[in-house]
Amino acid sequence: MTSTTIATANAEAGRACLRINRTHLAAIVLLAPAVVLFGVFVVLPILQALRFSFYDWNGYGSPSKFVGIENYSKVVTQRHFGTALRNTAFIALVSLLVQLPLALWLALSLYRNTWFTAFFRTVFFLPYMLAEIAAGLMWNFMYDGNYGLARALSDAIGIEPNFVLADPAWVMPAIAVVLVWKYFGFHMMIYIAALQGIPNDMIEAARLDGAKPWQIVRHIKIPMIRSALAVTAFFAITGSLQLFDLIVPLTNGGPNNASLTIVGFLYQFGVTRMRIGFGSAVSIVLFIICVAVSIIYQRAARMAEE
């Protein structure tokens, strides 16, 4: 009895080994492709960017000329980088102060399900779907003082057509209009999903307690969708930080670099001139801003939960 037990025990131990291998093998097969691809094209590049940012390098051979933080000091002292930061901040502010309130107002009007609301929700969400590059081109036409909306407006009030996209003073507000046009529907949809999650009983109870419609909005609906408000604020800011595609067909950063954004700056001065070290320093600055925004958002979201 004992000897056979030992024999089977050994056989089982062998099989157990096999079993562990098989389950582990399955885990590896399932995980490896994603991990490898993600590592090669997402994680590694960020680490490389960090390394390259300390070198003066044109991308050929291997980076050998270590320059310390010189690239960073060049970035911050570059005149156009200040413009890019200012423009990005301006876009973020317009997103927060114009786009989100507009989206919230429309969401409160349209969150119930009827054919009327469904139709307008679809209309308002439509621009979000269109490629930035196409939307920008469309608005380029709208702003063209010889043809589009700009001409129609100036004809109507009887002045010379104004080319806003060529005017350094007006170019950013003009871009902000396109931005609001393109993205408010996205934020509206997030609010609508959150508003539909509020139990109807709660609103009815408030009404029975004698609350007026605006009081219900102020004291029930808005507090109940706090986390959606936090998410949209997060998206509005990170969206501003990434803004590039939309601007290319509108102004391509011009006139005179007046409408550069951070990514536009990175493309113009880092990528097209193959200044790997300088561009990487911009990347790292952008990365740090993104991470900081994420951390602030996580904190804020946690506070909103409580």
Partner: protein, 332 residues
Amino acid sequence: MSSVSIVDVNKQYGGLTVLPSLSLAIPKGSFTVIVGPSGCGKSTLLRIVAGLESTSGGQILIGDRDVTQVDAAERGIAMVFQSYALYPHMTVAENIGFPLRMSRVAKPEADRKVLDAASILKLEHLLDRKPKALSGGQRQRVAIGRAIVREPDVFLFDEPLSNLDAAMRTQMRVDLAELHRKLGATMIYVTHDQVEAMTMADQIVVMNAGRIEQVGSPMELYNTPRTEFVAGFLGAPKMNFLTGEFAKPYDAETLGIRPEHITIEAAPAVWTARVRHLERLGASTVYYLDIHDGQSVIVTASGEDVHEIGSEIGLHPREDRLHRFRAGVRQE
């Protein structure tokens, strides 16, 4: 069919001990019901036997084979889950046939086995339906069908009847007992319902707080419960437990007596009682009685002689059916 041996098995989650060391022999071909209150560790034990949970120590043997480190799939075990766990996107036939497909059984043979299982469970007319289109009892039978096509050595059931209504549950108890007789396989069945334990089991295992209280045949446990816990857990209405002046004459800390072992008679009354409430069940009547000292007893009597609420009656416990407990353990 195989016996199952659980040897010194224990289980910890982090610092929490769910099962202290525990041993149990489940005879070949038996219908063993593991019963206990929720949280007593009975489901964990079953999942350890299935191979869905690892042990922190000890061995599981199926027949003579140590399966402690063997994958759930390789243990020769089938399991029926509480939620049935039917694959929602497959038809009844595909659900039942799935284990065969996974074992690469040839299609014609698999089809024949599915049909056999379906006919045993009277599911032939439902083979093309999806689980969504079945009643609770039918889903239950499909889950059983999926278990039996594999012709496993051991069947495990994890509270399989708890999602059914009362009438269906009674029906399924009979069906399961018949199925066991037909297949003759070893079945381990976990439940919190003592009626299922009493009606279906060859062997009942009563568990409490991770420990086995007692193992034995239903009538053995019913008539000679080893502990106060087992005595109180099996049987409905529950066994009466009396203390103080009622227990002392019998040389016990706690005196246990089942409701059907007390007779109501005027003389020679051992105890006198007042009727607080009664439930007429037709065949019998259950009396809720106040006796001295703030204690109360429940008595089951024939449905014919009815005493009104508030009336005084005399009680006579059957001497040979008294259980004397000291520190929770029955004294012989």
